[in-house]
Amino acid sequence: MRDNIQLAVIGAGPAGMTAARVAARHGVDVMLFDDHPDPGGQIYRNVERQTLDSAILGNDYAKGLLLVRAFRQGKLQYYPESSVWYLDKSLQLGVLHQKSTQQFRAQRVILATGAQERSVPFPGWQLPGVMTAGAGQTILKSAGMMPAKPVVLAGSGPLLLLLAWQYLQAGVRIDAILETTPRENFRRALRYLPAAIAASDYLIKGWRMIRAIKRSGIPWYKSVTEMRAVGDDELNRIHFTCGGQSHHLDCSVLMVHQGVIPEIQIAQSAGCQLQWDDAQQCWHPERDSWGESSQSGIFTVGDLGSIVGANAAALSGQLAGLQVAFQLGALNQKQRDKQAKSIRRQLDRHLAIRPFLDSCYRMSPQIPPDETILCRCEEVSVAQLKRVIESGCTGPNQAKAFTRCGMGPCQGRSCAASVEQLFASLLSKPLNEVGRFNARPPIKPITLGQLANSEE
């Protein structure tokens, strides 16, 4: 085991790359581990080798190249294709690289594991042909591919509109957009608009996307409810309600999106305290103004800390990088604070858009119809869970024992939020009193052979 790493950073998205680079610049010995073959995270996926015309992916994506180049020039050890499969309170971590595992102990750890899409189950969401909007974007960025058939986009949130805009640029036929955002959200969000003017570039970008989509003439259904995907072995039709009427559309590719939530698996398993964020309707680790969690020495940055977007993520990474350099004696307090001041000013400007966006696309929890599969891996339906809750099941962890819900290969990543929500709704309890699935290592899949091959 290597005992002497000063800082281990997990994740090479904007927050992780920036945190690593800033700490390294001040002389900290940094190792960065990332699952992917190239740096950039999901947002700047494949940006170094991108062959698509920048008109398709947009200017914000292209900006990621500067961040990646700066990271590549940093004096740090970068380990691509390396999965961190455990992290404990003593800051010991297990890393899987190719066919073997290695253990490290670090003096500080910065978690930059980013976000995942929020799962909002509806009948038929497990059918082949239904995928997330993020999946559509990942295939676009990493494989330069678009759907070969007409698509329907459904859900709520900026990413859905961005994908619609990108697909329009690429020439994909979009048969309809089914927006599930409740109409009253837009009215409620208006009071946050004046504060959002400080981040007017976001508003302008959003307005341009919306205008382009409107001009394209794609049917855009608003306040859609009761969505249902139907098909035998794959999707062939969607049913939904809009304006009090039922509608249906034939389609073979449906991309859904309901916002993103922090990917907290590693943070949770390392014992970082979580807090419920009512505005963003998700859990994130508690953190101080530098990003340090309740576990001393473990920091959380970027979208893991709170959903903030790529620009703010990179800035939050800088703050954590500075604090680690300060704590390890590579930087004095005065130098730290001087540098942090301008970073915080920029961060505030980027964060000014959040109350407006959070309110506009606030998720309103609903209980899906009984036949809906909540846990995709173990095929546990809403009806099955309702039965155990009604017979006195105390919380999500006990529901595992009764139903196997959350015990499949995804380890509850896809169903945790909706299971908690179901408990909260049926028991009329606030979400932070319902409890959540425990997160246990191995956080990432690892074979016995890989484990046996550990390098001492």
């Binding site: 699952d35 073959p37 999901q42 062959t51 698509l52 015309d53 398709i56 995942q116 899409e117 497990q126 059918l127 082949p128 042909g129 239904v130 995928m131 997330t132 993020g134 999946a135 990942t138 295939i139 676009l140 990493s142 494989a143 330069g144 591919m145 678009m146 759907p147 070969a148 058939k149 690429a170 072995d233 794959e234 073979s252 590719v253 990917e263 995709r376 891996c377 173990e378 095929e379 499949g408 290969p409 995804c410 990543r413 896809s414 899949p445 074979t447």
Partner: protein, 92 residues
């Protein structure tokens, strides 16, 4: 289900359930299979229902197939010449 936007990628041969097929090299395996109209990745072990890639970022595990003897998420593996791919098509 998907098609390349700007140009044809170089192809390599792999085996899928014992049969030779050509896939685009250097991209995520799940995307390359979708390009070849392969939309069934596995059958659910519970009911035997058909499954295919859902999230493409390694979270949902729906795209798992056996790659060179180890069950892996095909969205997280890059296509290489000579891969031996087997789908788990025995549900229930």
């Amino acid at each position: 289900m998907f098609q390349s936007i700007d140009r044809q990628k170089s192809l390599v041969e792999v085996r899928l359930d014992g049969e030779l097929i050509s896939l685009a090299a250097g991209i995520p395996l799940a995307a390359a299979l979708l390009e070849q109209e392969i939309t069934l990745f596995r059958l659910s072990p519970v009911s035997g229902s058909a499954r295919a890639p859902y999230c493409m970022i390694g979270n949902c595990y729906e795209c798992m197939i056996e790659i060179d003897g180890i069950r892996q998420r095909s969205c997280r593996v890059t296509v290489r010449e000579g891969m031996d791919l087997r789908r788990c098509l025995e549900g229930g």
